[in-house]
Subunit: 358 residues, 2 copies
DNA sequence: CTGAAAGCGCTTACAG
DNA sequence: CTGAAAGCGCTTACAG
């Protein structure tokens, strides 16, 4: 069923049929009716491929997520989908699994499919030639969650640094001074001590770090602002995005001597592991240990009440990113935008002062 | 950068350049090298739209999920994405929000974009003309989670009925006889009593019911098999997919007289609401109330240990659906397949016998 | 307002 | 093995 049959059946030229069905150009209302009826009768369905080949626009957004299965990306995708649907756009989704090679392949596929714009969570902020190429070709790219270094593309992210700093400030305000942190902190810094040295320089460009490092920066900044010295033994990395690894890290921290009076877990999965460890050790919360579990999503609602801190961005990351990329696609926007979504911190439950005042 | 420039630069015809770059047809290795070098030098990237227009294949799967943000669909999408990537396919994702109108629009969009096949969770199993049309046109359609009535299309779903029945059997085995059930049970049956009357007939075609009704059927069947009469007052519907509604339903059930000795919650969100209610009432588990929380995903891992039943399908729903649709696309498969994935039940924690033997 | 013609970037018979 | 020509299903100038 092509436009040719419709045109023939309606007794008009294909150009005219196209104008009616495609909604461009003029046509008398008489002809409009005839064409529409013919299309209806024949069960005509436009082939967007053909149109796209001509117009150079597919009305499609390509997304490279880290892992759609994770609550964060699922939520982001939801927002992107909503905005896209409103604009008649489709969304092609791919996973990078945080593998640079897979990310490159995904971007390649999406570009070959002629998407109009790209929303991507760069998995290696340091080496993203494919993204630089796209941006250099003036192709609409919007980054989420973190940004590639030196990439002149919009980015949308949560205020990880600010939210984490706020969490620590809350613990300081309750009188805690020895606050442990459990965070992923996998790549790219091997050595924590050297990261601490670089920290002051990194703050200005924090969003080119993976989120867990941004959150560590917030932890450091809170210490700095409060004049509390950072004890490196309190900073524990799981080294991977896994609850089991977080549990090990937490056990090691809490079983060591000089146990902290409070603990900050830098995301949902870390929190699960840490909670498991705390339960195993039989520590009471907040009596023996104050706990602030952080996440940028409210998936902590699945957990025991009374111990979570949820940083809610004032605006949906997915929606913001989709609006950003659509603006670029429509050529509405020129200045580069780094959108760091302000966050409000929802604290549930109470923070007790340390058992032994510090 | 089109194939024309590459051909010119390599000094061959576009047909030959196409054969080399597209990987079809013959070419001498000398020419292959020249063309590839030219393509590389010019930064040529194939336009899949043009190819698809000719071949009639886009190497794209269209997905209509209920809500990508929910853990179930997020997981399904992950599986689909993995299989698709392996085959060089892209995935276009849409949400129906369980609205028939949105589902129709989504299917329309996907067909216009010329996807090669469709994976869809039909939101109205009774009225799916658009799906019947697609199937009648011999278009590859695979259903997930539930199936549209009378639709001659493959379907992949979890064994909801069997898993729920098993949960109830476990409670019966521990000595319980009065087992409450909290389930969504929103549409399409208004009257529980009349559903019970129809139940025997519905069992043979259970997968055309929304999952919560299938789970209720399992509950009923367990009672029937054990010779325990069903007390309708123990069957509570939240009437919507919301933890708050489930909490209300649970409170009403547990505060009434003749409280059940055990409770079965038919999915994760229902479980959250029910647990809230149980906590509010200060009931001890399993001392005063035995609880079996069911879900087809392990998101119960976020909850307190000791009370969950997770039915794990032996195979990933998303992967199975994607493999199914790819088989159809490739014309590999003729007989209709209703894949009901067998499930193994992971019970965590213990079920106590009823306080007062029944 | 309508139509004949060209063309988007490829692939596909068909010759040679 | 290679090329000239036609064509996928539309849209876009350009005439009229």
């Amino acid at each position: 069923m092509t436009i040719i049959e419709v045109a023939r059946s309606a007794g008009v030229s294909t150009a005219t049929a196209g104008r009616v069905l495609g909604g461009y150009g003029y046509a008398s209302s008489d002809i409009k009716d005839r064409v529409r009826q013919a299309a209806e009768a024949l069960g005509y369905r436009p082939n967007r491929l053909a149109r796209s080949l001509i117009t150079g626009k597919t009305q499609t957004i390509g997304v490279v997520a880290g892992d759609i299965e994770s609550p964060f990306y699922a939520s982001v995708l939801r927002g992107i989908g909503d905005v896209a649907r409103g604009e008649g756009f489709g969304v092609i989704v791919t996973n990078s699994d945080e593998e640079p090679a897979l990310e490159r392949e995904a971007v390649q596929l999406l570009l070959e499919k002629q998407v109009d714009g790209l929303i991507v969570a760069p998995c290696d902020p340091a080496a993203s030639k494919h993204l630089h190429d796209a941006v250099a070709a003036n192709f609409p790219v919007v980054q989420i969650d973190r940004a590639a270094r030196g990439l002149a593309a919009d980015s949308v992210s949560v205020d990880n640094l600010g939210a984490a700093r706020h969490c620590i400030e809350v613990l300081f305000a309750a009188g805690h001074r020895r606050v442990g942190i459990i965070a992923e902190l996998e790549r790219p810094f091997d050595d924590l001590a050297s990261f601490l040295d670089q920290a002051p320089r990194l703050i200005s460009d924090a969003n080119t770090l993976m989120p867990s490092w941004q959150r560590l920066l917030g932890y450091l900044q809170a210490h700095h602002d409060a004049g509390v010295e950072v004890d490196l033994r309190l900073v524990r990395r799981s080294g991977g995005y896994s609850a089991a690894a977080a549990k090990e890290a937490t056990l090691a921290l809490l079983q060591g001597e000089d146990r902290p009076s409070a603990l900050f877990t830098a995301d949902g999965l870390m929190s699960l592991g840490a909670l498991d460890a705390v339960t195993d050790l039989g520590l009471s919360i907040p009596g023996e240990l104050s706990l602030v579990c952080f996440d940028d999503l409210d998936w902590m609602k699945f957990m025991r009440p009374g111990i979570s801190a949820v940083a809610q961005p004032v605006y949906d990351v997915g929606r913001a990113a989709a609006e950003c990329v659509l603006a670029r696609i429509n050529g509405t926007r020129t200045p580069l935008r780094r959108v760091v979504l302000a966050t409000t911190l929802n604290l549930r439950g109470s923070i007790a002062p340390p058992a032994t005042p510090e």
